[in-house]
């Protein structure tokens, strides 16, 4: 039976939800608004929220100074490439852990996660040398590889939790009907886990899109993604907030739009298994 929610309670819930939503969204909104101010207005105190002379000057300036499209394409290639490669590796791995566990499975999972516990700068020099010696510096392939490795533990963990929710009997039934292992994973498991896989995919694209340590340190110009594009607009000498805001807005817009359109999938995936 559905719970009876009084209208008063509903109003309180709505207000609280909106307040939290606005609080979380505020920095992005502020960046967006600042991008339409002049540099002098961007630092004015007290700041004006809406009543300033709106200008597109910063966007023109950013466009004139750097090649947005090149950075954008690099970001797309790196984030989608690394996530897809990660999924190809992680789906079989998560299958094995969820449906054919051994006494050591939990340890393996923990070990995978432990690789995330080290601050990345700790391995910067060895990684840099490896990249230099293999000619991977400033290449998209190099970045796809490293971001795959970085996000793999999260992908495996997420998929593992989703797969655990799927009854093993269904896979058993498929096996009884003579499905091979590959067929079992591709035709039975994957379709059932689509919401989970979709949200893993989206979350990892977002993570890879925003990754700003390796993408900044292992690139120079050819493979530099949007993180490098943003980093070029901060300055120790002179005013830069408005231009930086314009660059940031341009950098996050694509991923924001993607997130908007796939909101339903994302929410469904994240709450997958919670309600049966």
């Amino acid at each position: 039976m559905a719970r009876n929610v009084s209208s008063q309670r509903k109003i309180v819930n709505t207000v609280v939800a909106w307040t939290i939503g606005i609080l979380i969204f505020f920095p992005i909104l502020w960046t967006f608004l600042t991008s339409f101010k002049t540099e002098a207005q961007a630092i004015a105190s007290p700041p004006s929220l809406l009543f300033f002379d709106w200008t597109f000057e910063n966007y023109f300036e950013v466009q004139a100074r750097s090649d947005y499209f090149k950075h954008f394409m690099n970001s797309v290639a790196i984030s989608f490439g690394s996530t897809l490669l990660g999924l190809i590796i992680a789906i079989p791995a998560a299958w094995a852990m969820a449906f054919a566990p051994t006494p050591k499975t939990k340890d393996v999972l923990m070990w995978m996660l432990s690789t995330k516990m080290m601050p990345p700068v700790g391995v910067l020099v060895p990684m840099y040398l490896l990249f230099r010696n293999t000619g991977l510096l400033d290449t998209r392939i190099g970045l796809v590889m490293i971001l795959t490795l970085i996000n793999l533990p999260i992908i495996v963990w997420m998929l593992y939790t989703y797969f655990k929710e799927i009854p093993g009997e269904i896979l058993e039934a498929a096996r009884m009907d003579g499905a091979s292992l590959a067929k079992e994973i591709i035709y039975v498991l994957t379709p059932m886990a689509v919401p989970g896989i979709a949200s893993t995919l989206l979350l990892n694209i977002i993570l890879a899109w925003n990754e700003a340590f390796w993408t900044l340190n292992l690139t120079a110009s050819k493979a530099a993604p949007l993180t490098a594009f943003i980093a070029s607009y901060s300055s120790p000498e002179g005013l830069f907030y408005a231009k930086l805001s314009a660059a940031s807005t341009m950098a996050i817009a694509p991923i924001l739009i993607l997130g908007w359109f796939s909101q339903k999938q994302l929410v469904r995936g994240l709450t997958f298994g919670a309600v049966k």
Binding site: A40, V125, Y128, A220, A231, S232
Partner: protein, 437 residues
């Protein structure tokens, strides 16, 4: 017959040949106004050197420093020309990471480079390891209108006592006018640049001749006491988080009576497009205390060639173009003399057109000339550098000490405690690094 594939093949062959014959230089640079202008003038260089293409990597200073250091230390070879500061040049030259600039061409006129700037870029072997793109010192910028109202006259070479007195007189906290804005944000390039230079004027030094830290000496206590008290009486609220940009914003919006900082700020505060006080700004030398040293620093952004590059000749051509005399003329033609990168060449300061367009030119030159990186302090020191100590450990040390001093300014610790902590941590690090035996 279908000619399309043939045509396509021919086209790509032509394109490939084109790419193969042009050499691409990758240039790493900081995102400062003068560098951005250079980037926009790329066409002038490529039209004179059609066989060289330029690929720019522009980054924020700290990101750039981290990335370029990683690359050069591992001989990664990603960059052909680097933009580095006066702090890095002597350290990197000593490590053998930079190529000497011996072949900048007959027209380059090395002797025209300002002697103080050149001294900081010359290695122990007497060779030039980086060419200055623009140079700066520090000076006092003040509001002429507020001084007039308070009945004060700023001398060309003020003392710290005068500055402190004037700052307290001008301050009107009800109207949000603060007598003086100084750096307080922790960092070796933020508050410690200012405080190290100021300490020189107060007779203090980082190390004695045996590399023993000197924060337990009375000169440092005097410096820090003076600074903290002055900022409490006449500084803006929250000064411990103010760096160059924050103070710039305060000054431009008319909230500071005085600001002591980089000479490059002069062109920002006098720019009517950005500054509400553009026509009311005066300049003076950084203050002293009568001990013979002024608290003005010396910095330059320079172009250098990393030892790992395969394109030395093309890189030399580019550096000769970007730091040569003709570049200054080019900028003057396109954007006017006031926007020419300052502080590198003697000839610029003899050019009447420049002197007319830049009211801060004389003060900039005097400030640069007054700085002596080889003898920065009143007492003898074992290091080079006015507002920094040119040893690899200084980035970490300077920032750690800066955090102590920033905490003292914020009132989180006492001046004595901050100095004691600074002395302890510096002694520990210097012992670990082998300077103190």
């Amino acid at each position: 017959m279908n000619f399309k594939p043939l045509l396509l093949g021919a086209c790509s062959a032509v394109v490939l040949c084109g790419i193969a014959s042009a050499e691409t230089l990758t240039i790493a640079t900081v995102n400062n106004g003068d560098m951005i202008r250079m980037q926009k003038l790329t066409d002038d260089f490529t039209s004179k050197n059609p066989d060289i293409k330029l690929d720019w990597v522009t980054l924020e200073e700290n990101v750039l420093r981290q990335r370029v250091t990683t690359d050069i230390a591992t001989k990664g070879g990603q960059y052909d020309v680097l933009t580095i500061g006066t702090y890095e040049v002597p350290i990197w030259a000593k490590q053998g990471w930079l190529l000497p600039l011996d072949n900048l061409g007959p027209d380059y006129d090395v002797n025209d480079i300002l002697p103080a700037i050149r001294a900081g870029l010359t290695g122990e072997d007497g060779k030039l390891y980086a060419a200055p793109f623009y140079g700066e010192s520090s000076m006092v910028m003040y509001r002429k209108d507020l001084f007039e109202k308070a009945g004060l006259t700023m001398p060309d070479a003020p003392t710290w006592d005068f500055i402190a007195d004037a700052a307290r007189k001008i301050t009107d906290k009800d109207k949000e006018i603060y007598g003086i804005c100084l750096r307080g944000k922790a960092g070796w390039g933020e508050n410690m640049a200012f405080l190290t230079a100021t300490a020189n004027a107060f007779g203090a030094r980082w190390f004695d001749e045996n590399w023993k830290p000197q924060f337990d000496q009375p000169e440092w206590k005097k410096t820090l006491d003076f600074y903290v008290k002055l900022m409490k009486d006449a500084g803006p609220p929250g000064a411990s988080s103010n760096g160059f940009n924050e103070n710039l914003a305060l000054f431009q919006t008319g909230k500071c009576g005085m600001w002591i900082d980089a000479t490059v700020a002069a062109s920002f505060v006098t720019n009517p497009k950005e500054s509400t006080v553009a026509d009311k700004v005066g300049f003076a030398l950084a203050p002293d205390t009568g001990l013979g040293k002024r608290g003005n620093w010396l910095w330059a952004w320079n172009l250098a060639i990393p030892a790992g590059t395969q394109k030395q000749q093309a890189a030399e051509k580019f550096i000769a173009w970007a730091t040569g005399k003709d570049y200054l003329k080019l900028v003057a033609e396109k954007d006017g003399w006031a926007n020419v990168p300052p502080g590198t060449r003697t000839s610029l300061y003899e050019n009447p057109e420049y002197l007319k367009a830049a009211p801060f030119a004389k003060m900039t030159l005097d400030s640069i000339n007054a700085a002596d990186p080889k003898h920065p302090a009143v007492k003898p020191v074992p290091y080079v550098g006015v507002q920094f100590v040119a040893i690899p450990e200084f980035q970490g040390l300077g920032t750690a000490v800066g955090q102590q001093f920033s905490a003292a300014l914020a009132g989180q610790t006492s001046v004595d405690q901050a100095l004691q902590n600074a002395q302890q941590l510096t002694t520990r690090e210097m012992t670990k690094a082998g300077y103190i035996k």
